[in-house]
Symmetry: C2
Subunit: 304 residues, 2 copies
Amino acid sequence: MAPDGGSVREVLRVSAPVDLGAIDPRSTPGLPASVGRGEHRKTWAREQVELVDEELGRQQEMLFAMARTGSRRPVQRVLVVLQAMDCGGKDGTIKRVAGAMNPLGLHIRSFGPPTSEELRHDFLWRIRRELPPPGYVGMFNRSHYEDVLIARIGALVPEATWRARYDEINSFERELTEDGVTVVKVMLHISYAEQGERLLGRLDDPRKHWKYDPSDLDSRGHWDDYQAAYAEALSRCGTDAAPWFVVPADRKWYRDWAVAHLLRETFDTLDLGYPAADFDVARERERLLAGGAGAGGAVEMNGR
Amino acid sequence: MAPDGGSVREVLRVSAPVDLGAIDPRSTPGLPASVGRGEHRKTWAREQVELVDEELGRQQEMLFAMARTGSRRPVQRVLVVLQAMDCGGKDGTIKRVAGAMNPLGLHIRSFGPPTSEELRHDFLWRIRRELPPPGYVGMFNRSHYEDVLIARIGALVPEATWRARYDEINSFERELTEDGVTVVKVMLHISYAEQGERLLGRLDDPRKHWKYDPSDLDSRGHWDDYQAAYAEALSRCGTDAAPWFVVPADRKWYRDWAVAHLLRETFDTLDLGYPAADFDVARERERLLAGGAGAGGAVEMNGR
């Protein structure tokens, strides 16, 4: 079912000036009103995601196939950049949405605090090394945007340095799109209250202790600063070449529905299809039935 | 249900001298006899794989969690090496078995013909660069074994060079296991007839033309040579540190069942569990409920 008010891409795209305070993290933009309210919406959205899963798998295969036969240059690839506050649902989104696709064609990378080697280079150095190859769907779990978020709030670099990065990011992303990379930047937008509950959930379940880091509370203490830094990054780096989308993420079922549809609509813009054979099909069929190119003998059919 | 005759690992492991001709690609070793025959077995095996999927997901998460908290050294990881003749089902196996796990913790790499840069290095150079990081499950779609298979049949290197590689591989894999890598080497064993049918299937479906390469028929022409080269590689490099398993693979449902169980039993040997917190849980709970470390304020509970 098509979302209300046009595509999910249109509904969730933000433009400057971005006011995150005006976007309710519990809202469900684009979800058809006809679906109704309450538990029913959740069930409906989850069923929709399963339908989209199949389509995503097919589209991913076509993207991959087109890169293998080299019929078009530059060869296309997709890069999903995921950003969120701690507990915002980046891992869960990747598990759910990427889980629908063939792992062979995925290129998933997580960016943590830079290593000493990475710190010796420009902030985009480690990002460039991890771009998805042609035909792949890349997903970045955090990204170069940390360099205008935590780098800014934590004063890890001088102000002049992070201020210059917005333009550097825009140049970099323009270059990517010219090289055939379709960039989809997604901020999973959760509320302060929801983060608190999720952190508590991690503390109260021993199977989740490994996901908890005491420094998460320090970032939480700078909530408003982070929201402001996000708003500026989204305002300054939401471009036509590489738009930013804000997905309200307090409700996980909505988040998964929205990201799956964003990705499907992105694939739709790529004019995907299975490439034509670059060999003579009839001749290959003859060779195969005649016994291949060498010692093997003819195909023996199994009676199955 | 436990497989007949002990574990799948025991049933499928091969040791020197390996005689591939004695292993029927349509057989189903380890499948409990009580399951019966015909269509019923297929349905049963597919249901079993879904049950194992959940367990694989849980085990993978524990492996990942243990690496994150650094409670044990060397940090464990798993590397599945998949080898097969063309159409042997490597891609399908990865899609089905890896698809059960969280893509965030997977490290999947395909090895094609070496690039000019790779050719300037030792044959293990490109393999070492792609080992799974601690806590990850790696899957190699082809591997360093191509360097004693196609390199031998195609005479890409002098005989003395590929002959020396068996020992080099054994040293390399021993080194890996000492570094915490659990290596699981799987040969998907298909018949000449089944390969013929699958190649024909690719030629007859335009959506599969991209998977077909005329050179596949050249390899098919050297079928017996490849079987002999496989037998020697399995015989010489099936070690206690890094055993080889042969999975009869003409039946896809059996192949998936067998590989999923091989992986689950491999996880079972690793003594996995969720790591204990390396912070004071009660104190963090207090900090969180008191409002975090800074300006944020206390957790407000949503009434959901």
